[in-house]
């Protein structure tokens, strides 16, 4: 009897393994980062690839002649653009089947560490590469990919979904995160929200922040620092939160953690990227920007913020776009960047594929539409041209790498 049940169990296990190996790849692009193109064994293509590498330096061959899935490109970094990168890497397989790109969201800091250590081919980062990292990474360069908005989400008992969104301005937001504005019916909040005067409760605000270090925090704290000199904790991936010391702070792990903490805690408030607030249908505030106008976090508001600072790029092609002065601009916005090595890449086929992919994400209309649908803002022309010009300066083994 026992031998029979063992063999039945082993047979079932084998069947399960075989079935899972034959199952088709997941259809929902938004949910899955597909790791390989339609199955072709890589082993067979190795000799072919080596031949192509030899000729690549002399005369670039057409990418379509490479076998499908033969160039494996790894990226890692910020979780903020992860949803759109997942869609893009899946869609790009149909544009160029020979490139198999996968991106893992391990955080901006992890991405920067990985590109310096050489474990990935490109990194995604919301936070800027520091001087020390430029020194240790030697030839790193950041390229803006998208802009995203950070919004303040809230959960107030007594406010229904039909009520208008709460309006906050920079000074009040700094007051909330400094624990000087303690209750929901504080005069500063009531002054900005006369329509909600009777509905805001006299309860203390539970302020949620990120427990892990994050580019989102960097964008948010830089905005706070710009709004008011009262914000002393600085603008960085990880700061010491005054609300923790005051006793009404809470930390959530990742954007989903903050969103969950706000949704589960009555009378709380937190900050997340816009593309976490929209699909989860969490209420987020409107903001009064530097020009005094009340704006909502929309693509137009982000575009306006980007255009306000379009000529203020540093030579490292980084830019802080918080507290934009335009009348329509969203005040808490930031770029997310690609981080690449510019001169030290040795695999020139891979380098070309990476640049072609980045070029596609920046210029292709379908890619732009997918990004907008998820709540990201694509670069305006003024910025895009600067990025493409900088990308054209990437070299591999001394030779410039073609973008097309």
């Amino acid at each position: 009897m026992r031998r029979n049940s063992y063999s039945i169990f082993t047979a079932l296990l084998l069947m399960a393994v075989l079935l899972s190996a034959c199952a088709p790849a997941a259809a929902r692009a938004a949910q899955v980062i597909v790791q390989t193109a339609p199955p072709v064994t890589v082993k067979e293509t190795v000799p072919v690839q080596q031949t192509v590498v030899v000729t690549q330096v002399v005369a670039p061959t057409q990418p379509a002649t490479l076998p499908a899935g033969s160039v494996q490109i790894n990226g890692a970094g910020a979780t903020f653009p992860q949803p759109i990168y997942a869609q893009w890497t899946y869609a790009y397989q149909y544009v160029d089947p020979s490139a198999a790109i996968n991106y893992q969201g391990i955080g901006s800091g992890g991405g920067k560490k990985a590109i310096i250590d050489g474990t990935v081919d490109f990194a995604g980062s919301d936070s800027l590469v520091s001087d020390a990292e430029y020194t240790s990474g030697k030839d790193l360069q950041m390229y803006p990919a998208l802009a995203g908005a950070v919004v303040v989400i809230y959960n107030v008992t007594g406010l229904a979904a039909t009520d208008p969104a709460i309006i906050l301005d920079g000074k009040t937001l700094v007051g909330i995160y400094n624990a000087t504005v303690k209750n929901w019916n504080d005069p500063a909040i009531l002054a900005l929200n006369p329509a909600l005067k009777d509905k805001l409760p006299a309860k203390p605000i539970t302020v949620v922040h990120r427990a892990d270090g994050s580019g989102t925090t960097e964008i948010f704290t830089k905005a706070l620092a710009s709004f008011s000199p009262d914000w002393k904790a600085g603008g960085a991936q990880s700061v010491e939160w005054p609300v923790d010391k005051a006793g009404n702070g809470m930390g959530g792990k990742g954007n989903p953690g903050v969103a969950a903490a706000v949704q589960n805690t009555p009378n709380s408030l937190g900050y997340v990227e816009l593309d976490y607030a929209i699909p989860n249908k969490i209420a987020y505030t409107q903001m009064v920007n530097k020009a005094g106008a009340t704006v909502s976090a929309t693509a137009e508001a982000l575009l306006s913020a980007m255009n306000d600072f379009a000529d203020k790029f540093t030579d490292k092609l980084t830019n802080t776009i918080v507290d934009a002065p335009g009348a329509k601009s969203w005040p808490i916005a930031g770029y997310t960047y690609y981080v690449l090595h510019t001169t030290s890449m040795t695999d020139c086929v891979k380098a070309q594929k990476i640049l072609q992919y980045i070029n596609w994400t920046l210029t292709d209309a379908t890619a732009a539409k997918q990004a907008s649908a998820l709540g990201y803002a694509v670069l305006p022309d003024a910025v895009r041209n600067q990025v493409l010009a900088k990308l054209a300066q990437v070299t591999c083994k001394g030779q410039p790498v073609p973008l097309k």
Binding site: A132, A211, A236, K245, M250, A261, N264
Partner: protein, 335 residues
Amino acid sequence: MQNTHFRRNTAPPWLKKLQHGFQHGDRLWQALMIAMGALVLGLILAIGFLLWQQSQTAQSQLGLSFFLPASSTSWDPVSGLFQAWPFIYGTLITSLVAIVVALPLSLGVAIFLAELCPSWLRSPLGLLVELLAAIPSVVYGLWGIFVFLPSVVAPLGEFLGSTLGQAPLLSALLGGVMSPSGSSRLAAGLILAIMITPTIASVTRDVLLAIPRSQREAALALGATQWETIWKILLPYGLSGILGAVILGLGRALGETMAVTMVIGNSIDNTASLLRPGYTMSSIIANEFAEAVNQLHSEALIEVALVLFVMTLLLNGAARWMVYRAARRTPTGGR
């Protein structure tokens, strides 16, 4: 027994050597076992040494104030000030709450399984208790957030805060307003208690089952009731084993990361209250280490790991010493 089936060994010389080695390989066997033991010891020493070495700069720069208790501490990655007392306190208090809650619970379960349970229920119930230990800690965290915290911890915390929290001695521990979502040190302590109960309960049940029947029969013969037998005879007899079970549970509670991170609220503050969100050493490492690009920040986190490592060793050592003392006092040495 003598081997009466002698046969000439016609194997080739290399095979003869191999056979000789296997038949008389005690030395080899001993050497292998010693190597295994040394490997485990070496691993612990290597971990401790690595933690010590990787946090050298932080140790020299942050000094003793890193882990000494203070009324106002800071953990500021921007300005490079790191003090780990809130996390040390968080780990200690949540583990203490876990042990205080889990011990009577597990003892009760173990006594029921060993002494009072009808025999048809013993196996299934024992299996279910051990199954609790198999649940992944992330699942505990998830269940905590969606079920346990809103329905049990939040009302319990409010009740404790309004009653015991008003008493002068307990106001430090139970003062303050209960966190509205339930995320607090109390929540972490209670979830840890549920997680360590199966460990303590199953080991205690085995200890109780191993006590010879003669002890029970002698007690009953002398006129003790069943409860008196259990409480006055069996538990003291198995005390060293029970303490060993508690050590196992404590070890798990000290190091538990995922479930605690999800329910403790992740707030670095200087209050001592169980009702407020807190932080533990394992949570801060899990949350911040991946993104700590600043050299001093990551070294400070490694130093927190070193403190956790040393604390686990010290607490385990202290508990084992207690076991030794308890074993010496029981009549047969606790065996």
